[in-house]
Structures are given as C-alpha cells and as structure tokens.
C-alpha cells in the first residue's frame, strides 16, 4: 500500500529538555518537573488557567499538543479535524497512587474530586480536545512499550476511513522518575513519510 501520509512535525518532552522537530527549545535547569512544565507554558505565552489544575500527565499531554497544533494552525487546513491517538505504559498510576493515599485509612479519609477526575489516562486528551475544539475521534491505548507499528496502522485506518484529516499521536509516560512525552502530527504533506520505521526512529531519537 502506498504511504500517502507524512509526519509534519514532532516533539519530545523529558525531565531534561523539550525539543520540536529535533531542535531544543528549552532545557530544564531545575530538578522540578512541574516547574519545568510551567516554564514551557510561559514560553508559549499561554493564558489558560485550567492548566494549573491538571495533573502532570495532563500537563504533559496538553503542552505537547499545544506545541504542535499551534505551530500548524496557521498553515494546516481543517486543524479542528485532528483525531487524537495517545498511548503510554503506566496509564494514570501516578495520580492513582495519590487518590489511593487519600483513601487508604478510614481515619484519614479525604478523597478529592479534583484528584479523582485525573485517575484516567484519557483525561489529558480531553483537555487537548477542549483547548483546540477537537470534536474528533480519540483513543487511548496502554502498551508495555511504544508500539510504532500498531499506532501507524491505526492512524492510517482513521485517515483512510475519512474519520479525520490529521492525527495527533502521542506517547505520554509519567511514572516515578520517568517523564517522557513524544508527539507527532500525521498529515497529508510533510517531509517524513509516515512509516513504522520513521516513527520508531523519531521515538528513540530523544
């Protein structure tokens, strides 16, 4: 099958740095990841107070999408017709542990709706959908490791079924010391053919 689709842009976000299309745009000078996320937010000149209510997984997802969709919104047609296909290994476990801590003891029982709502891995996609008004297909997958082939094929099926014009794919892993966001936008034009090998290469080149 002819590959008609391309990766127009990609982005990596780790505890050390954030880069877009291979170029580092910000390095983390501190050990504090949340502070780093705030720096990225400020760099984008964002005024979106909801950001500060999000958990780390949603912040990471939100910022990755922001960096790629904002970049494209001027040049790409039908940006609102972008589907979201995200995945990770640890689901929302980081926030799950926080909720669990709040309910572990009956004498010290303080579950919070503001925490509980983030105990689902797809909430970050919901935040992205709200921010960019994407009333589109979205799916969250969990895998032992990044699955380039599955994601490539699922993405192509969405495009070929004409469920959307573009697909924003993301790997958003937040667990213990691991913080890694990898995002790429699949469209009709670009320089990088949307193949399993290219996706895998981009993923590993952080």
């Amino acid at each position: 099958m002819k590959n008609e689709y391309f990766i127009s842009d990609f982005c990596h976000m780790t505890a050390e740095e954030v880069s877009v299309n291979g170029a580092v745009i910000l390095k983390n000078e501190t050990a504090d990841f949340d502070a780093f996320l705030k720096k990225i937010y400020q760099l984008q000149n964002l005024k979106y107070s909801k950001f500060f209510k999000m958990d780390a997984l949603s912040k990471l997802t939100f910022l990755g999408a922001e960096l790629l969709l904002k970049k494209e919104s001027s040049s790409l047609k039908n940006i609102q017709d972008t589907a979201l296909v995200f995945s990770n290994k640890s689901s929302s476990l980081e926030t799950d542990r926080k909720h669990q801590k709040s309910i572990q003891s009956n004498t010290d029982f303080y579950p919070s709706p503001a925490v509980f709502v983030y105990t689902l891995p797809n909430i970050g996609m919901g935040e992205v959908a709200i921010r960019h008004q994407l009333q589109t297909e979205n799916a969250f997958f969990v895998f032992e490791q990044f699955e380039a082939e599955f994601l490539q094929k699922y993405t192509v099926s969405l495009l070929q079924e004409k469920k959307c014009h573009h697909v924003l794919c993301g790997w958003t892993e937040v667990d213990g010391a691991t913080r890694h966001g990898f995002f790429y936008l699949v469209t009709q034009k670009g320089n990088i053919p949307h193949t399993k090998q290219n996706i895998q290469n981009l993923y590993t080149q952080r």
Binding site: P111, F116, N122, Q135, E137, A139, F140, F141, V142, F143
Partner: protein
Amino acid sequence: MKAPCYISAAGLVTPLGFSAEDTFEMLLQDNTALKKQEDTAVSETPFYAAMLSEKKINTQFQQLGNPQQYTKLEKMMLLAMAQTLANSEVKITEKTALLVATTKGNIDALDVNSAFDESRAYLPMLAKKLADFYNFKTEPVIVSNACVSGILAVTVAKRMISTGLYENAVLVAGDLVTKFTLSGFQSFKALSVAPCKPYSKYRSGISLGEAAASVFISKEKHTKNAVEIIGAGSCNDANHISGPSRTGEGLYKSIAAALKEGQLEANGVDFISAHGTATLYNDEMEAIAFTRQHMQHIPLHSLKGAFGHTLGASGLLETVIGLEMMHHQTMLPSPGFDELGVSKPLHILLQKQKKPIDILLKTASGFGGCNTAVLFKKVS
C-alpha cells in the same frame, strides 16, 4: 470496498450469571444485580452496587487454574474469555489480537491490604497475565478510554483487522467495584442512595457494578448467530473533562459517523442500547443527542439498573446482551425506570417485547468528554 467484520462468539461473567445465556435469562425474568452491599473493605457505610462474590468466582475458576495465583479481575476476565474461545473454536495464531478494555484494571492492588504486589496495578501486567494464560502470540492491546473503553475496543478491533495486522481478535473488558472507584464517585457526589434509575424523574445518581465481558471478532462468520459490525464513531465533546456536553455534541457526532459508515438513516435503527448512567446531566445529554438524531421513537434501554455502571466493561457487557436480544428476537426493558426524567421524550422500554432487531445501536459516553457509537446488523 472494505471487508465485513463480525462478532460471532461471546462470554460474560456478571453477578447474574457465568455466561451470556444465563445472564440474559435472568434479565428476562426481571432480575437485577444491584443490591445493598455491606463490604467494609470497599466502604465503611453500606452502599448499592452489583458485585460478584470471589468465592463463587473461585469455584468456577477451579476448572481453569489455581484461584490463588490470579486477582479477582483476572479470574473474571479469564472466565469470560474461556467462553468466547470455546464458543468460537478459534485457534490462536500469530495473527490473533488480544484486546483488553478496562478503566482501572487491578487498581485494588494499590491497597496496602491487597494480597498482590503493587506492580499488578500496571495494566500491561494484567494484559500479560491474560495473554500468557491462553498463549496469545501478539502483544496485547489495552484500550483505556474511561467508560467507552469496552465498546471502543470493538471499533479498534474492526479497524485493526481491516489493516491486515490481525486476522481476528479476542476482546475482553472488565472492571471491579473497589474502594478506589467508590470513594471517587462519592467525592463527586454522583452515587445514588438507592439502586440507580436511568432516565427517571426520581433518579439520584449512579450505582457501580463489576463484570467481565468478552467477544470474538473476525472477517468470517464463525457461528450462525454472527452479527456484523457495520459502522462506528467515537467523537469527543471538547466541552468538559468530567461533565457531559449540554448539546450532546460528541454523542450526536459519534452516531452520525456510525450511520454514515453503515450507510443507514436514523430510522433504520431498531433498538438503542444506551449508556444511561442515571446522573442528571448524562441522561439529559443523551436525550438531547438522540432527539437531535431523530431517534426519540426508537425503543431504548439502559442496563445500568440491572448491572450498575461497570465502567470500562459496560460497553461490551451491554453489547453482548444486545446480541442476545437480537438472537432471541426479544427487546429487554430499562430496569429501574419510573417516570420520564429527561426534557426530551424517549421511547424507554418498560416491558420486554418479542420483536426482531435487525439493527442495534450501542452508545457510551465517559469522562474526558469521550463518546462512542457502534451499529450492529443481524446476519441472516
């Protein structure tokens, strides 16, 4: 032209029965699994939920393996899969996918009182236990997309089979009633003080439930009761992360996408197996979306009044009951319904009806603004 895709076998583990047939039979006799529970490991105070006794599960599981080695959810899912594998007589090959749909998986492993290690709460660990048990050869695919997970997995399987990556797929969906989820919904003040009553005037919120459901999806009709998956859509509301859209936009668009793919008009649908969680906002949102689609006259039910909200399992559980209805040419009512409590009139079924269903629409909605609609067609 895309190749058709079918569901041709299923399995269920619910508080009403350890098979799709037994569970359906119990529903026919107007049974509900929602009961007052006094399980202090889940809640200090009594609550209404549909729960499975682990003792009963263990008795059933003994024919498969050692109950001590697997978590409650794993045993439920393995038992549901056993039925699907037996009913489809599928041989698992390098082209057979395993799709696991769940919101919280073994989340009870995070509890300090759990007999299992905390690492069991990682969803890939759960999937691996299931895959290894039946010797799946492909990497398991986990769909964790809030309360649409179970039905979204059907869509994912169909799409992935059409890409050629897989020839067929075994799906399993499951979720538990835990202190984790119960306390969370409590903190949202979303729990009903009595068995939940979807779409009803006197509804007061959701009741939780636990279940596992499984189906076999392939390009061939493996059994005479096969049902074709003819269209699907899964659109986000882009409105609020924990509240449904007031216009039902995402659900409306999901149904539109499913109809378009299935080349059907709204009035071509014979029955709607809706989500109906019995929260004020959800039910109202659905009523608006169905009315906007001109589907208000189509017989509809929510099974949450029988099974509670089984979260990631609900979409697949309710689909399997839908397939039973198609097979038995019987429409099941909406348990717990009293008087219409949504602003748009819906055709909520009060009593079971002997009537053929050629086209069934299954819908679901969930946190994160997600919605999914899938159309099933009876194969003659």
